[in-house]
Amino acid sequence: MDTDIYQIQTEAFKGPFGLLLELVEKKKLFINDVSLACVTEDYLKYVNSLTNLKSEEISSFILVASTLILIKSKSLLPNLDLTTEEKSDISSLEERLRLYELFTRLGVNVKENFGQKIIFAPQERKNNALIFLPDNQISKDSMMTFAQNALGRIPKKVFLPEVEVKKVISIEEMIDKLTDRIQNSMKMNFREFSGHTGGAVTREEKVLVIVGFLAMLELVRNGILNAIQDTNSSDILIEKQEVLTDSV
C-alpha cells in the first residue's frame, strides 16, 4: 500500500490531469494501468482535501478519481468483470493523460517563447482624406437590435453544464454497483486471487482498500451535490450560442 501522502500545493491550481501526471511522474512511471493503480490512493487523498476549490473543478477531479478506483479495483481483484463502458473509461483516461502530457510538454515552448521575440504588424495607416461613407444597414432600429443582441450574448455565469452534473450524479450509481460486485466477488472462490500487488496481503484486506477508496469518493461526491444545490456558489461560464461574430 502506498503510504507517502501527496503534499498539496496551493499556490497554483492543477487540473485533474495535471495532478495525475505529476503523481505518475513523481514515481518515475510511464502512463499505463499499472502506474495509474499505483497513484490512486494519493490522488484520492488529494481530491478529498480540495474543499476550497470551485465545484466545477472538483467534479472533474471526481470523474478521474472514479476511473482510478476502477483501475485499482481491477488490479486488486483481477477477476472483477468490467463493463464495456468501464473499459473504455479506463483506456480513455490513459489516452487523455498521454495527450495532456504531450501538450504540457509542448506548452513549455509556448511559455518560454511567448513575448520574447515579437513580429509587429505595421501601424495603422493614417488616412488624411476626410471622408464619410455610411452604409444603408445603419439605422436607429438596426443599431438598437445589434446592441441588444451583443448584450444578450455575453455569457452568464451558471452552474455545471448539464452533462457534467449527470456524470457526477451517476458516480453514486457506479459506487453502488462496484460495492455490490466487490462484495459478491468476496463470496466467490478464486484460485488466482493472489494478485500482483503484494503477496502477503489477504483478499479481505484488498477489498477493504477498495471499499475505503469508494467511501472517500462518496465523501467528495456529497460535497459536490451540496454545492449543486447551493446556487450561490455558481461559478462556470457557458456559451449561450455558437455564433460567428467576427467575420469582418
Binding site: P122, F132, L133, K140, M143, F146, T245, D246
Partner: protein, 184 residues
C-alpha cells in the same frame, strides 16, 4: 541585422514619411550611416514590390507607381463594400455607450475588435480620441456625421437608450474584475 534592413523595418512599420534625423535617433546611428543605408536599401528594392520615396529630408516606403490604378480601384471597392455584421455590432456598442475603449468593446463582443475598429475609422463612422482620464488609452466615439446620418441629434435620442446603455455599462464594469480573475 544590418542598417539597411533596420531602416526598411522601421519605415515599413511607420507607414508614413519619417525624417532622416528621426531615423538616426531611433537606430542610434549617424545621419551619414542613415544615408548610406538608404542608398543600399534603394538598390535592394529595385525589382521589388515596394519603393523607397525621398522628399527633402523625409523618406517613406510606398507602392510602385505602375500599380497606382490598381490601388485606386481597390480603395474605392473597399470603401463601398457593405459593412460586416461585426462592424455593425461594434458600431452599435460605441453608439449606445457613447464612446468606448477597445477593451470594453472586445469584452462585450467576446472577440478582439481591432480590425473592425480600423474599418469603421476609415469610413469616418467613428473617431479615435485620447481618453481624458488616462492619456495612454483611446476611446472610440461616434462621429457627428454618423449621428446626423441616423437622424438623431445626440445618442440619447436613440431608441431604448437608457436600458441598453445601462446594460452596456454594467458589462463594461464587469470587465476588469473578470479579467483579473481569469488571469489569476
Amino acid at each position: 541585422m544590418n542598417i539597411e534592413q533596420k531602416i526598411e523595418a522601421v519605415l515599413f512599420w511607420k507607414g508614413e514619411p519619417v525624417q532622416k534625423k528621426k531615423l538616426a535617433d531611433i537606430l542610434h546611428i549617424s545621419i551619414d550611416e542613415i544615408n548610406e543605408g538608404l542608398s543600399k536599401l534603394k538598390e535592394s528594392l529595385a525589382g521589388r514590390g515596394i519603393v523607397l520615396q525621398e522628399n527633402g529630408d523625409e523618406v517613406t516606403l510606398g507602392t510602385p507607381p505602375e500599380l497606382t490604378e490598381l490601388f485606386e480601384n481597390l480603395q474605392k471597392e473597399e470603401l463601398n463594400k457593405d459593412l460586416s455584421k461585426a462592424s455593425l455590432e461594434t458600431l452599435s456598442i460605441i453608439l449606445y455607450k457613447n464612446g468606448a475603449t477597445r477593451a470594453e468593446i472586445d469584452y462585450i463582443r467576446g472577440v478582439n475588435s481591432s480590425f473592425t475598429l480600423r474599418a469603421l475609422s476609415i469610413r469616418g463612422l467613428v473617431e479615435k480620441v485620447a481618453d481624458t482620464k488616462d492619456s495612454r488609452r483611446f476611446i472610440y466615439k461616434p462621429t457627428f456625421d454618423l449621428l446626423s446620418f441616423m437622424g438623431v441629434e445626440k445618442v440619447e435620442d436613440l431608441p431604448n437608450y437608457e436600458d441598453i446603455k445601462n446594460g452596456v455599462e454594467t458589462a463594461a464594469k464587469n470587465l476588469e474584475e473578470e479579467n483579473k480573475e481569469i488571469e489569476k
